[in-house]
Amino acid sequence: MAVLLPDTVDEAVRHLTAAPESTVVAGGTDLMVEVNDGHRRPSSVVAVNRIPELRSWRHDPAAATVTIGSAVTYSEMLVGPLAAMVPSLAQAARTVGSPQIRNAGTLGGNLATCSPAGDGLPVLSAVGAEVELASAAGRRRMPVGEFMVGVKRTALAPGELIVSLTVPVVDGWQGYAKVGVRNAMVIAVASACVVLDRSRRTVAVALGSVGPTVLRCPEAESHLAAALDWSTLDVAPAELGRFAELVSEASRPITDHRSTADYRRHTVGVLARRLVRRASSAAVAA
């Protein structure tokens, strides 16, 4: 076994090209669980936690985007200008594990693991983030919705590294909500992110833990976009109710030891409805 600690993306990519079976580790919060229980014995590990490009984020005001390095931790997303620009990501980050986990776990790791319950993933989907990947062949970008293929399956090619996520700074309202059975340190039983983009007059709803990967709700989105008063972000109760039904209908939950399919289906509808209600109250308050 070998552990490689590159300083740059190019070096990391060189190692991954030479040994495509290598495991990339950033915070270690997913990988080490598997290593500790003996399920995983990586032959080669590339630790990316000291690559400055991956550890930083930058705002591009002209493009109205923020690009977040894949090794930026949840704790770093929770505070300051980053949290102000992508508030739903900050809200999602706050629900991840414990302070210890948030200090180590990264956005890139969340995406690479691609668990159906990954807390950052509904946000990335709803805000329309793009992922940048680096390999020996160069760099490429794709929408996260295409990158997330299934349960713990992504479009990451052998030898490829997640470099960053570029997230639009949305003009409008966004929010994230997550249900777990405990008030802290809990894996999502169901989660939802709602983004109301005022300038484009579009609605995005993304759901976690109710399908093999993050699900969008196209019918619910277009229903709400039509029903919403875009100046007040208000919506008639009946239309909001219908929106919640459409969200529930878009889910494809299963029953497991954490909850039942019925509860998950019910819950995402309630969460989506409450998030829109929250948007309306925020608009009133503003």
């Binding site: 590159p6 190692h15 594990g97």
Partner: protein, 166 residues
Amino acid sequence: MTTTIGDGDHFSLHVNGIRCEVTDSWLGESLLDVLRDRLGLLGAKGACEQGECGSCSVMVDDVLVCSCLVMAASVVDQPIVTIEGIAPIDAPSDVQAAFVEAGAVQCGFCTPGLIVAAHDLLERLPRPSETQIREELAGNVCRCTGYGRIIEAVQQVAVRRAGGGS
């Protein structure tokens, strides 16, 4: 420059200000296992192997983490502080003293991790509200105390550090 650690290589960790050579370890080992089994630092405890209990909490590069989820070989060159490095044995820290006095210790298994986490909390938030204490320490599970005396201990330290009481 890539630092490469291969099979059979030694690597060194900087623990509590001391450079420690790690030999004979399997490179995938967690920092917790290396601290306990290779370096003989038994203060950090393992109780879940999944980052769900906080008993193994240590500081790496001034950041509070679960050492069970850190691959030891990935933190060479980074300063590590364990419970053994929090305060000298003959001069317990204010947090340590408050835990003992306030009845925050029962079986004590979660205690070393909590002491490290409480020190970190009070560094970042010198006057935490009760809710902040609860949120910031939520990664440290205690099965004996129900947390009440631990909150009391942290509050006592905050007050004393602010000069509000002996």
